[in-house]
Symmetry: C2
């Protein structure tokens, strides 16, 4: 392996920064791990010992890498990281979260974390889109990315061709059906579709399925994207659970 580069999108590897995301990587996808990087300023915590043990079991070599860690983590001051190979998965037939042109790294990471928490184990990302493997996304996902099936598509049609039967719920500000109503009637498998932070979904999405609106006051233009996605996933899973009771 050549020396470690500052992260950029076209690299075939990235960095899980910090103990928690690194531990998630080693638990969920240890076969992707290439190296454990530890700073000489790292304290000998229980978390670090556990990470070292997982890396040892999977024959992942440890090296001291102060400069690489400082460069990749920036001001966030990260003392341990695991270098991992990027991956893409085949999505399964369960419920999907479809992110159409997500632009913000922090939002993307947060949405991945929420998706894992609400059992949306399949995430489709439609390009152009933020890079889910950017170390800051991996970190803001708290390593959730390693527990998901994640796949990038060049456009929505490419995704739809693979999953023609999913009921589609595009989230749109001007939709007539409120979230609680849509969620109470949804039958799996379904796909919740969220648009870009600034521009939302193109109007044509309204004809693709059942558009959904999250009711909020006119005092704000819109909810933050990761907030809207979370409320959508919560409502759809929660309604499903209540029907099962």
């Amino acid at each position: 392996m050549p020396s470690l580069a500052p992260y950029f999108r076209d690299l075939d590897y990235s960095y899980a920064l910090g103990l928690f995301p690194s531990a998630q990587l080693m638990q969920k996808r240890p076969e992707l791990a290439r190296r454990l990087l530890v700073s000489s300023r790292a304290e000998n915590s229980e978390g670090l010992a556990a990470l070292r043990e997982m890396c040892r079991l999977h024959h992942v070599r440890e090296e001291r890498a102060d400069k690489a860690l400082a460069r990749v983590s920036g001001k966030e001051n990260c003392f341990a990281a695991v270098v991992f190979e990027k991956f893409q998965s085949q999505l399964s037939g369960g419920n999907h979260l479809v992110l159409h042109h997500p632009g913000d790294k922090g939002n993307l990471g947060t949405m991945l974390r929420t998706a894992l928490g609400f059992g949306f184990l399949n995430v489709a990302v439609i390009r152009p889109a933020a890079d889910a493997f950017d170390p800051h996304v991996v970190r803001s996902s708290m390593g959730a990315i390693f527990g998901l099936n994640l796949r990038y598509y060049d456009d929505f049609e490419q995704y739809r061709a693979q999953f023609p039967a999913h009921a589609l719920y595009p989230f749109m500000l001007d939709a007539s059906v409120p979230l609680s109503q849509a969620a109470s009637q949804a039958q799996p498998p379904f796909a919740l579709i969220m648009g870009n932070e600034g521009s939302g979904l193109p109007p044509a999405f309204a004809a693709l399925g059942q558009p959904v609106r999250i009711p909020h006051s006119g005092e704000i233009d819109s909810l933050n994207l990761s907030v809207a996605a979370a409320i959508g996933m919560y409502a759809f899973t929660n309604q499903a659970q209540e029907r099962e009771v």
Copy 2:
């Protein structure tokens, strides 16, 4: 007014960065505005013209301030801002969002935006806490801060002494009552209480009201704070609306 300083917490003024947050300020609390700052690189957009007109109406002087804008906005490349006096409000008797030791600026801004969207017009922040007037918080709130009653308290007891009758709903990972149940039984006025990003709420909060849990899988440790707060506010307002129907 002396020359503009880089932002720090003890200043009695701050900056609404960008057209949208600045316009919110001028609409909601124009009496706080001190100066309009415009970069020489700003384009003559409709938004800027509207902001200038609002500032003119309220006798807010415009000045070219490339250096101040670059310094305060950092890499975010902001071309217009309004300098405003910090404020604190008296909370009203409506429903409250209580943020106990929020640490992250982005989360705080997002929670303010969500609170305004769901009609939680009163936000109590318990110290130590991130600074709601930090320009990055104001920006991530999309100016929502100007539409809210916001008050800092030194501790929870100080807040509680002012509002002894609000039903308290502390959000805790180990609470036995799920969100949907708590929300369906809530009678206003109530206060949703959210803990710190890393440590949550101290265990003693469980005895102060009805602890609430947002059900999620064991695959994640917890939801992001701004996500949890949003789901909580959505569920409590949505259930209330459904009861009214």
